[in-house]
Amino acid sequence: MSTREFRDKFAIVGVGMTPTARTHARGMSAMRLEAWAAKLAIEDAGLAREDIDGVVHAMMASPHPPLQWTDTYSRMLGLRPNFYLTVARGGQAAHNGLLLATHYLRLGLAKYVIVSCGLPGWSASHAPEGPVGMLGTGGWRGQLGFGIGPLGFNAAAGGGSSHGFYVSRHMHEYGTTAEDLAEVALSAREWANLNPEARFHDRKLTREDYLASDYVIEPLRKMDCCIESDLGAAIVVTTADRARSGPKPPVYLKGLGFGDQARKQWWDKSNYTQVDGAFAAKQAFAEAGENIWSIDVAELYDCFTMEIIFYLEDYGYCKKGEAGEFLRSGATRPGGSFPINTHGGLLSGMYLFDFPNVVEATRQLRGEAGDRQVPNAHLALTNGHGGEMVEPFMCSSHATMILGNELS
């Protein structure tokens, strides 16, 4: 992709996220949450329902009815899009959705595309009859049928039984410690304490709390794992020319890149101590004409604390094994030189794949982030990682995006 074709050609003009990360939304379906977020995003963009002529619905790694059965939520809102398409791969679904949306815009098949997602994740895991869906006893990581999942992988909470292998290997190869992981959790919580929408807005976290918290899947403690939320989120994207006529400053898409560890073999050892962020980031930064040090704020997919360590190392902010030191400098915390996850992240803020990252980056670049606003934020980095969790290899894909509030 050349600079001519992408950088500054498209912009986010509206974002919406349901205010439900703290309250939860028991009794609301994924469809309802997604529709609610879409309504908020359309209003945020200063548009009417008839302006939306394209819908991209984002979801988990693979179809998962009834937990995330939202085809097609747009009917609930009375939207009349020219197309309604689904993208998947969970943790990077928003980035995938934006890729698809920009192609529709480029081809002139739509003027305003909404990319959206909904998931009653908290309610599903706190159902009176016990956890349901991907979080429940049926399991889902064995669904591709290799047969290993039921032996105890699916029974372990969330994606921990896969992602924990990353931690085990990184600790072994680079000497990463629980104290290093704690830095990620503490940084996220400090930001959450500044964000009234964050799940743990009013709960402090100390290093002692972290180290005293129970192991869930050792070496992962509870505080290393992202939270669950009942949440919907939506993003309205259009061409840059159209974006400038909107009520709010456009947030331009500057670069988008993708990677996948499946470029190597399933069992390539390096797949357990890195993500494919270096590959994805190289494309995104080249397209944006920027480098990692020009980023003002980063909203990164912290499904587990270790992922932030991978990103710092694999994007080039520090060498392998040195992320702990980088984190201890305070750079990622409020007031630091490289703020990460100003919304509180998936660890302490809210969970909905990579959607909260894009929503928060947009708010930061518009100067709408209140107490947590990063001063003079012009360039933001977002990412997501996703895919199936099928042993021995999981969540292989990666997406990186650069957003900015000024034309290059």
Partner: protein
């Protein structure tokens, strides 16, 4: 190491398992015969798990050039976790239990449970071997692993 510890298995072991992909069925059929099979390339002998068409050749081999063949069922611990909490109550009696990636002597990584051990004894690099568990009353054998001294 003193007295051999034997892992407890909760009632999960008795319930029906989800259906298998047809391509992985020969692996599970091998387990019934206490054979640890991997997918082997007829051309070069390279082993794969799960089902993968050999990548060592300029062309893409035909599927019938890959065959399930008995292998050592041995390897070393590549990564390991100790599960302390489960969302599935049928696993409660098993806690804590160890999940691991075993780097098989033939190359591939195999995800499994290490049983009959103290979780503290599991370390990366330790030798491990398959331990076949025939599920009573069912036509199914589970490929657990155990540490070797």
């Amino acid at each position: 190491m003193s007295e051999q510890k034997v892992s407890r298995l909760g009632p999960w072991v008795e319930r029906p398992f989800p259906p298998l992909l047809p391509e992985i069925v020969p692996f599970w059929e091998g387990l019934r015969r206490h054979e640890f099979r991997l997918v082997k390339c007829r051309r070069c002998g390279a082993c794969y798990y799960p089902y993968t068409v050999c990548v060592r050749h300029a062309d893409i081999p035909d599927f019938d050039e890959m065959e399930w063949a008995p292998t050592s069922g041995r390897g070393t611990v590549f990564a390991h976790l100790t599960v302390h909490k489960v969302v599935d109550p049928a696993f409660q009696p098993d806690l804590p239990y160890v999940l691991a990636l075993i780097e098989l002597d033939e190359g591939p990584l195999f995800a499994t449970r290490i049983v009959d051990c103290d979780p503290q004894d599991v370390r990366i690099g330790r030798r491990a071997a398959v331990k076949y568990h025939d599920v009573p009353g069912q036509d199914r054998t589970l490929p657990f692993f155990v540490l070797q001294d």
